[in-house]
Symmetry: C2
Subunit: 265 residues, 2 copies
């Protein structure tokens, strides 16, 4: 299971304040904690806009890459911010989060991805906006991933993201994602499938319960990566159990090791 | 989600002692607690053999049905014990747990099921014994459920059980069940699919973590009933969250109600 640590995101109040105040030690602390908790990528999202985002993301990437050895996930919808972040990036091949099927964004990002040897999150949004239902997600996915493969990207560099939306505003929102993961897993057995799991619980109480249960349900359908909070111990324990139950843990070695390390309490 | 309370099972030490000592008050207490915790059926398994089982199951059913208003799940591999239990049974149409594709067991049970107007667990075992892999489960399922439907049983009276085996002895054991649930759900959209979830964790530490995560993963694949411990609050909270995430909870009403009732803590 590939864990992408979600905590350094400027849409969160304390992170916004840390970025605005250039509180490098605070950002570094959160980056390090996520790596220590098992994150395979540390996501960096400045949460600002325009030129400010370019400047903020560059600062953020420089602070975080000094602190961790894992690759970063460079998170922005703005190709200019991603290009600037890649210019200062010195770590292992990063994850570009994200390309979509919107023609202009796609055209601007693909050369950057190739040049950086990066992996990429393929977010299933097209020029018509957010997808609704499983069918639309799968259609966008087949087109977008097909295009990326045709560009020569190896399947393992593509992280398909079906776009998780809150179950509080549409009670079929989560089940549509589950159905789309099942179908995308069948269509693209060698690509990764990821999700911004925490969106599912927006507007509801006990969000962490919903987040960790949704994560395991997505894993049952073929998800093998996720943007989550690696400091949420119950979520990480649930993910460990789900890996074992999904048949990805020979002799239950990882599960038993996690138990002995006290990670399942 | 249909919860079948699993606690009154004579293979558990304290229940075996209660049955042997005819400790009716103790059995009644556990039956009532399961109903109060939300069980839709209370399973009764004497855990003994031969004539002893006939006698024990009859006693057990008489004790439990006096205590609860929900139907019982009459649990035995011995058609004679099930026939005797049905003779004394006075509650709402019960669940017969279980019929298999073994010709003799099938032939003896089907007339009893029809006569009682009972629902039935269709356990995916045939004359060759326990199934291995998803393909074999689906093949047995298609044959067994096809036969039961041909007998005139309505689909909603059939609870398909794919046979859960411990992931500790075969690391693909759980994923085979997940795959078979997906395929059986597609083949039989109107039947129930259930599972003896707790078997999955046999031989491993933190069994309750594995049990509740496996339950939610099975639900993501189409499971809509389960033999579980309804007194396990974390499992019941996970099941509630999974129902909401599976699109079976309009306006998230059940989830919000459970939250307000303190059931998600």
């Amino acid at each position: 299971m590939i864990i992408i640590g979600e905590l350094i995101n400027g849409t969160r109040k304390e992170i916004a304040a840390a970025i605005a105040g250039r509180a490098a030690a605070e950002i570094a602390r959160i980056a390090r904690a996520q790596q220590e908790a098992g994150a395979h990528f540390v996501d960096c999202n400045a949460g600002t806009a325009g030129d400010k985002e370019v400047e903020d993301l560059v600062w953020l990437v420089q602070v975080v890459q000094k602190e961790v050895s894992v690759p970063l996930s460079l998170d922005s919808s703005n190709p200019a911010a991603l290009a600037a972040a890649l210019e200062v990036y010195t770590g292992p091949p990063p994850l570009i989060n994200s390309v979509t099927a919107e023609p202009q964004r796609y055209a601007e990002l693909v050369p950057l991805i190739k040049q950086a040897g990066a992996s990429v999150v393929a977010l299933l949004i097209d020029e018509k906006g957010m997808p609704s239902g499983a069918e639309q997600r799968v259609a966008i996915g087949k087109r977008l991933v097909g295009d990326l493969l045709a560009e020569g990207l190896e399947p393992h560099r593509i992280f398909i993201d079906p776009v998780v939306m809150p179950v509080s505003t549409d009670h079929q929102a989560a089940s549509a994602v589950l159905a789309s993961i099942r179908q995308l897993r069948e269509a693209f057995p060698d690509c990764h499938i990821t999700a911004g799991v925490s969106n599912v619980s927006f507007g509801l109480p006990n969000r962490r319960l919903l987040n960790r249960i949704f994560l395991t349900m997505c894993m049952a359908c073929g998800l093998d990566a996720a943007l989550v909070d690696p400091l949420d111990r119950q979520l990480m324990a649930a993910a460990c159990a789900a890996c074992t139950l999904a048949g990805r843990d020979e002799w239950c070695m990882n599960y038993l090791q996690a138990h002995r390390s006290g990670l399942l309490e």
